[in-house]
């Protein structure tokens, strides 16, 4: 597959950049870059491979797959909102068997690291999905989507209740290969996200992915009815970034060593830096891909530059750096002028 990319942002190679170690450890899996795609924003990688080499980024996080083929919701499924968008796709997908045969096989052949996102309507469905993946090749980790807002029954949003969330994670853990890293994807639409994180960690999650979209709604001023066929939808994009950074921060404070995948409105290297400093070990780039299909590689390059500019000699040094005590003696010794800026 040939590809040509002329990014709208600064290209790696515009000017000489000091290369630093950008690798990150995610619950035992070593990624060459912290930048990954976000579930639901990259399908299964094939389309984006036209725009950049998908094997160079941290991982492809695939669109949440269910046990059976699923048509998703009626259209309109989308509305543009200020610095964001609302979507109401409803988990359209091919079902796990076709996914494994068609998509996962291609990703594996292509040499991409793959985090498979799964979604179910019941604890049993999650268990079956995990069992199917146990015998599949090419799975680096599982992201358990317990927080999709686009289901008819809000009671099905497992991530809104610590016990439901824990039941799903326990089931996935029990049916997965013992060393398989399992990430629980959490919803920001809860009073206390730290308690949900605690529940999934106790249930056996290796780490957490934060955050899924926020539940939102748009009324069409012409029809004077809800714009989305599904009435409500998930809000994503830069508009939700401060909420996401806050969630990463709170979970990092409560769990100093928990692997965290941060996501929510990351559009530039500077946005990515915020998540890293707040405590994310890796990042998912979602809605930004709709705006700029080569965003993941651009953000990787911009993040590296931002880290170099701040005197970090590796990505891992910067993870959780915003949590250092106020009077901490800086570990990076050259030029810390930025602190007083």
């Amino acid at each position: 597959m040939s590809r040509a990319v002329i990014s709208q942002g600064p290209l790696p190679g515009d000017e000489p950049v000091v290369q630093i170690d950008m690798s990150t450890d995610l619950a035992g899996i070593e990624l060459p870059s912290p930048v990954m795609t976000a579930s639901g924003c990259a399908a299964a990688g094939r389309e984006l491979d036209q725009f950049f080499d998908i094997t160079t980024i941290g991982a492809i996080v695939t669109k949440s797959v269910m046990l059976q083929p699923r048509s998703g919701r009626a259209t309109p499924r989308m509305a543009e909102t200020p610095s964001g968008m609302l979507n109401s796709i409803g988990l359209q997908g091919p079902g796990i068997d076709r996914f494994i045969e068609h998509d996962l096989a291609w990703l594996s052949e292509r040499g991409a690291r793959t985090i498979v996102s799964i979604a179910g309507g019941s604890v049993d469905e999650y268990a079956k999905l995990a069992a199917r993946l146990r015998i599949a090749r090419g799975v680096s980790a599982i992201e358990v989507n317990i927080s999709c807002p686009n289901v008819e029954d809000r009671g099905q949003v497992f991530a809104c209740d610590p016990n439901s969330a824990a039941s799903v994670i326990q089931a996935v853990k029990r049916h997965s290969e013992p060393r398989m890293p399992i990430f629980a994807k959490l919803s920001p639409d809860v009073t206390d996200i730290v308690s949900i994180a605690g529940a999934v960690v106790r249930a056996g999650a290796s780490g957490v992915s934060v955050i899924n979209t926020l539940l939102g709604m748009v009324i069409n001023p012409d029809t004077m009815r809800p714009h989305l066929a599904g009435v409500t939808g998930g809000l994503s994009g830069p508009a939700i970034r401060p909420v996401a950074v806050r969630c990463v921060w709170q979970i990092r404070q409560a769990f100093p060593d928990l692997p965290i995948i941060g996501m929510g409105g990351i559009r530039s290297g500077m946005d990515a830096l915020e998540f890293i400093l707040a405590g994310a070990n890796a990042l998912s780039v979602g809605t930004a891909v709709f705006h700029d299909p080569s965003a993941p590689v651009r953000i990787h390059a911009e993040l590296q530059r931002a880290l170099v500019d701040r005197g970090f000699s590796s990505l891992s040094e910067a993870i959780s750096y915003a949590h250092r005590p106020k009077d901490a003696i800086p570990e990076v010794d050259d030029e810390l002028d930025f602190i007083s800026e």
Binding site: A4, A42, S71, G72, T75, M85, I89, F290
Partner: protein
């Protein structure tokens, strides 16, 4: 194979109710075929408008000093298209393309009818040229609400054996819809294929008229898209496959051109109950 390039505005000019934007698009213009589209980033890198806007490719020039340029036709509907219409010479625009499945051309020299609603005529120019190069007779019908909302009448007259014009208000050509005059035209020229681009109700009627005459129809749909490259799943519509199964297909990668007899026009905007993976009672 789509590419992402930084294009430059060469020219922007008003044509009736529309703006025609000429852009440098190296690597896109040279491989674009009739029915392909491009998406444009709106508002620059810090834009609060995240979704790209999709436009059918109107014309291409694959050689010359700019190494490939293309024209698109913009109808201003909202903030994004307003921003585009306000671009000036030398402004940079992020372009992705060519995207989608283009029109399929007949192998034989058969009579073809092209139907455009409003600025839906934009992609028909390249198509008419290529059909004529193959030796096909080309007759064109264009229609719009008013004369101002027709696009490219003079140029189409040059490209077509006959050009029929309709307007809802009768301000130019025949009063009525393109689909009012289509049956008679198809019969007269014994059309084997009808190509259409325009609003959904028009496409539906075109597909019906073609089917009644056992002619093929190739319909380019306009669905709201977020990404244009097949990853967001917002631009879906129910389409029957060769296996008889209805699936929600993405108009950006499995379209925008569909066989008219495959699209379930009456069910667009819904999930028909017999769709693969449709919700079951008590389910989602």
């Amino acid at each position: 194979m789509a590419v992402q390039v930084r294009g430059e505005v060469l020219d922007i000019r008003r044509v009736g109710a529309y703006q025609v934007l000429s852009l440098t698009a190296p690597g896109i213009a040279d491989i674009a075929r009739p029915g392909h589209f491009v998406t444009l980033g709106i508002g620059g890198e810090e834009s609060s408008m995240l979704l790209r806007r999709a436009f059918a490719i109107h014309q291409v020039q694959s050689r010359g000093v700019y190494g490939g340029t293309l024209d698109i036709v913009i109808g201003v509907h909202g903030k994004g298209t307003r921003w585009l219409a306000d671009r000036r010479r030398h402004d940079a625009i992020d372009i992705v393309g060519p995207l989608g499945r283009p029109f399929i051309l007949p192998k034989e020299r058969v009579p073809c009818v092209l139907v455009g609603g409003g600025y839906g005529s934009a992609p028909l120019f390249m198509l008419a040229e290529q059909l004529r190069e193959r030796g096909c007779r080309v007759d064109v019908v264009v229609g719009a609400a008013t004369e101002e909302k027709l696009f490219g009448v003079l140029e189409l007259k040059r490209l077509a054996s006959t050009l029929t014009i309709t307007t809802d208000d009768g301000s130019l050509g025949e009063r009525g819809r393109v689909t009012d005059v289509l049956p008679e035209l198809m019969d007269r020229v014994d059309a084997a294929v009808v190509y259409a681009c325009g609003p959904m109700p028009m496409l539906q009627r075109v597909a019906e008229v073609a089917e009644e005459r056992q002619a093929y129809s190739q319909c380019a749909v306009e669905e709201a898209m977020a990404c244009g490259i097949g990853v967001c799943m917002t631009c879906v519509l129910p389409v029957v496959g060769e296996d008889g199964v209805t699936r929600m297909l993405r108009s950006c990668v499995e379209g925008p051109v569909f066989r008219g007899d495959r699209v379930r026009w009456n069910d667009v905007g819904t999930i028909p109950t017999d769709t693969l993976g449709a919700p079951v009672e008590g389910g989602h």
